[in-house]
Amino acid sequence: MNKDLAKNLAPGHSACAGCAFPSIVRTILGEATTPVVISNATGCLEVTSTIYPYTAWNVPYIHSAFENAAATISGVERAYLAMRKKGKIKKKIKFVAFGGDGGTYDIGLQALSGALERGHNFLYVVYDNGGYMNTGNQRSSATPYGAGTETTPVGDESFGKVEMRKNLMGIVAAHNIPYAAQANIANLADLKMKAKKALAVDGPSFLTVFSPCTNNWKFPTSQYVAIAKLATETNFWPLYEIENGKYKLSWEPKTIKPVTEFLKTQGRFKHLFLPKNKLILGKIQKIVNDEFARIASLCGL
């Protein structure tokens, strides 16, 4: 293990082999130029990194509950301002919150909105694995259309989730924060660039990072980067930034692969390849095309 990579989140955590978030966390925090303090929503990242009496965190860290990583870091950040005012602390510190999609798109949305609106100096990172993976793969508002989960199981009358993903980037952008971006661990240089920009903001910033889940998406542990790469190559997960309200596409594939290339790598979409679900595959391709067209249009393309 590269010591520099592990300086914030050490090895010895118990995340699954083939889980994306350890490298997401390390890559993002690796771009910090000041000390950081972390707040973390309940979820896989939290339970695998802080089993008492051990901790994988080499930086100050707080987990309080599921829905409130943004509210908790608000208090930490204002405590810092109070201490600075009194001259008790001189160092610059950046505050970073991590949450999964359940803790961000769903139960943590109110706390996130409040903290963004109040303008705290923090970066919020959602590692988006499209469901409640810590509790064993239940549907969230980030779960893709057609995915089979434990609460949207596939059956004779069901092809999985029937709703589209929530447009969280749009919701975050509506808070008019200085910087928000969608990124992917498979596009490392792009993720680093976005982390650097987001951490440099003096105020709220937001990153949503694609986080393949080997257990519940059902793919071999060696494949998380390859699958993440396909997500972007098929336009399922476009990379873009919203900087001071301006949308900018970070990367555009020269030839767009069909979304089935991405879907066929994962057990959660396996049922869609049955002849009876042919129309569903067509609908997913249309959702991906429309969503990319919408983002491209916002980018002025």
Partner: protein
Amino acid sequence: MLIKDKKKLALTGGYAAAYALKQIEPDVMPIYPITPQTPIIETYAKFVADGEVETEMIEVESEHSAMSAAIGASAAGARTATATSSQGLAYMHEMLYIASGMRLPILMVVAARALSAPLSIHGDHSDVMGSRDAGWVQIFCENPQEVYDKTIIGMKLAERVGLPVMVIMDGFNTSHSVENLEILDAKIVKKFVGEYAPEKSLLDIENPVTYGPVALQESYFEFKIDQEVAMATVAEEYKKIAKEYAEISGRKYALFEEYDLEGAEKVLVLIGSVAGTAKDAIDVLRKKDQKVGLLKIELFRPFLFSEIAIALKNAKEIIVMDRAQSIGSHPPLYSEIMVSLQNASNTKVSSIVYGLGGRDVFKKQIEQILEGRFREKYLS
């Protein structure tokens, strides 16, 4: 605000709390409005706006976030306070346990109010009784003077014992009623509460600490026992701090208040603002040579079973008045008193529930209770 003389002010309970908080000057105060707590946070916001305090106020978007931000701030080493009522306290219920489980000395002033449904904005103790098992110290106040004093005592107590503290007043009866009270010089209060210097802090970058880990079967139990051990130190520390406070204020607080308890055969046990009415009723009956008295609970958590049993040992009949229910069981204070008196088999103990949703209680009614002329379960 009417200034009668240098030290005496006519204040509501809400204003008294804000005034005490101003003199404490917490580093961070997350706030979210709810009736009847609003005068506390509005008054404090004006202190901030006028530059009288340097507190970082966080105008959060919910009570859940208020307690979450308080937890973050306190874990970051800041002296932290907030205030709430009713649905707000219920909404932060999850976070109450996390604040106490992390042993964070947060001070929260509560203007106690009924819980929905149906909606009532008026006073009772349903909200605070609902959080009696959350690991917080609970100190009840009778009037604005006690609110002022116990807010200051409560802050010091929280930091001394490493537990969060609720200072509780009756919504409207106390929070919105004006009384003359004595306040202390700001410098004296500042010196009394002292500097807050926690051992650990999230802002200590050189010594990183992890707050809120996962505790599995072999460690969770011990954390919970430790909270009970800390709670067991509260009564002694409260007495010590109250003694120090008496030295600067001249006002003496004990673990509970005994009013005409000596020689009393018939005793009322109750909590909060109704004590004022009860004392008046007792005065009337004592003039008629009736042997009646009052035990006013001040600390509800921890509950001081053996001390209370000793204080009540000569009573022949006890009437416990609760301003809350425990639907499907006995009212909360009555249950605690029954446990306190488990070895006093000759004492007759009865229960009356009063004042739910702001229902008034009159002196005449308490006289009737003490004279045995009222025997219902509900004083409704």
